[in-house]
């Protein structure tokens, strides 16, 4: 790890002022940042510690019925907040399927959204990587691409965004609240992470010094609470990143799908909203045929970025199964293995 200066910010104004200086990086829990620094992947000159910023650790229900999650709310606190988990069960399930209990106790809302890719060649400083070193090339091409993209990738970068949390959030139209010296602005989460194009080093819409202060869910996001699930296929049962994951949320009315939300994880450099699949589901009966058609629609533009064509069919099946689980109903209590295809469950209260 390179040596660095350390500053503890006492206010948001102080943090964003310090954050603009070149080489400065915000430190939240550090579960991603320190890992990258230990590997020499990132070498910031100065850490601006934001963990003591006042007021950013709250989960609020807004007057309009929406919810606001402060950037410093820990992943485990959000997942275990009864009221929040009841309103947004797929978000809680996604959080609890990520990392480990220890990491979730530390990891923050802002840090989770901002976490970097897990592309193995990005982590290995002996490999060429356009994201680490623009113009250097991409050793993932022709390499091990099991965790790499099938949607939205470019010749310059085939990495994926690894967050589970972001997948149901993007399905539910979450909004990112950002603060800087210039004031406050908001960006829909769907537009927050950038596809690689020919600038894979640019990962989000944030400029230097811009700080995420909260993530907001609109009031309409809670209408799916009775039919919302997250499903995550991993290389081991727990404590592993998604090979492919999906969030599915339905609002049923008179035996028909009145509203549908579908998003994929592990397939692109951003949480991938599958709007084409949602359009197919609208007005349909929640059955196998509709789910199959939706899954097809979601992957029409997919193409392998290496030896990972299997992920396209896997993604279709994960969508179908997530929709089937969502249609059956959100269980009263999360299964013992959250989001796991190995969970014994059919949707109705499995632990009643």
């Amino acid at each position: 790890m390179n040596p660095f200066d350390y500053t503890r910010a006492g206010s948001v104004a102080e943090a964003v002022a310090a954050g603009v200086s070149p080489g400065a990086t915000f430190l939240a829990a550090g579960t991603n940042l320190l890992d990258l620094m230990k590997g020499g992947v990132t070498r910031p000159d100065r850490l601006i510690d934001i963990t003591r910023l006042p007021g950013l650790d709250r989960i609020e229900t807004l007057p309009d019925g929406g919810s606001r999650i402060g950037a410093l709310v820990r992943n485990s606190d959000l997942a275990h907040d009864r009221d929040f988990a009841k309103r947004y069960p797929a978000v809680a399930e996604a959080l609890l399927s990520g990392a480990s209990a220890q990491l979730r106790n530390a990891a923050t809302t802002g840090g989770n959204v901002m976490q970097r890719t897990r592309c193995a060649y990005f982590y290995d400083t002996a490999s060429a990587c356009n994201k680490r070193d623009p113009g250097a090339g991409c050793d993932a091409r022709g390499g091990e691409t099991r965790l790499n993209a099938i949607l939205g990738w470019s010749e310059h970068c085939v990495a994926t965004h690894p967050s589970d949390f972001c997948v149901p959030l993007v399905a539910l139209d979450a909004v990112v609240e950002i603060e800087s010296a210039a004031g406050r602005r908001e960006v829909p989460l769907e537009a927050f992470h950038q596809l690689p194009g020919d600038t894979p080093q640019i990962e989000t819409v944030l400029s230097p010094g811009e700080l995420i202060v909260a993530i907001r869910l609109p009031p309409a996001a809670a209408v799916f609470s009775g039919h919302a699930r997250y499903l995550k296929v991993r290389d081991r049962t727990s404590y592993a990143f998604a090979v492919v994951s999906a969030a599915a949320a339905l609002r049923l009315e008179g035996g028909r799908i009145a509203e549908a939300r579908v998003a994929l994880g592990g397939v692109a450099l951003k949480p991938w909203r599958a709007r084409a699949a949602e359009a197919v589901l609208l007005g349909a009966a929640p059955d196998e045929a509709a789910f199959r058609a939706a899954a097809e629609a979601a992957l029409t533009e997919a193409r392998p970025s290496g030896d990972n064509a299997f992920k396209i069919e896997l993604a279709r099946r994960v969508i179908r199964r997530a929709l089937t689980l969502a249609a059956a109903g959100t269980p009263d209590r999360l299964p013992a293995l959250p989001a796991s295809p190995f969970a014994v469950q059919s949707g109705v209260p499995a632990y009643a």
Partner: protein, 165 residues
């Protein structure tokens, strides 16, 4: 630059001056305070050997900068037993063959103690295994570990309920 910090470790305030901001809590415990019960396995958040409690919550001390935790209350494996009386989880690990080489054991035990305090698993072995997935055991003592936690949970039940009431 030197950074003075205080960590309250197993109830005792420790005043330290960090010469280097890079020190993790794991490094401080092992190298500065000679509390070597907490192990360094991967040093990257992937194994759980370094698990300690900060403010009553289990975390990976290898990914926690000491300087960022000025004032924190930290509990380590050395802080569990009262004199010669082992914590019920420690006792249960011995009785249920929950380790072989012992390298992962302090992390497993700290994680298990927190798990029981979190009270999310209610005696379901599958929930216990899931909640313990952040602690790897290279010797594969998982069956004994799950058994030990179940036994400790049964033994601690009356006192846990007493605290809640």
């Amino acid at each position: 630059m030197a950074f003075p910090i205080t960590l309250i470790v197993n109830g005792t305030p420790q005043h330290l001056v960090l010469e280097d901001a890079r020190a993790t809590i794991l490094d401080v415990l092992r190298e500065r305070l000679d509390l070597t019960g907490t192990k360094k396995g991967c040093d990257r958040g992937q194994c759980g050997a370094c698990t300690v409690h900060i403010g009553g919550r289990r975390i990976n001390s290898c990914l926690a900068l000491a300087i960022s935790h000025d004032g924190a209350e930290i509990r380590t494996i050395e802080g569990l037993a009262v004199g010669d009386a082992l914590h019920p989880v420690q006792q249960a690990f011995i009785e249920n063959d929950a380790f072989q080489c012992g390298f992962c054991t302090p992390g497993q035990i700290m994680s298990a103690v927190a798990l029981l305090e979190e009270a999310q698993t209610d005696g379901d072995p599958e929930r216990i295994r899931e909640a313990m997935s952040g602690n790897l055991c290279r010797c594969g003592a998982y069956a004994g570990i799950t058994e030990a936690i179940l036994k400790a949970e049964q033994r601690m039940q009356p006192s846990v309920q007493g605290e809640a009431a």
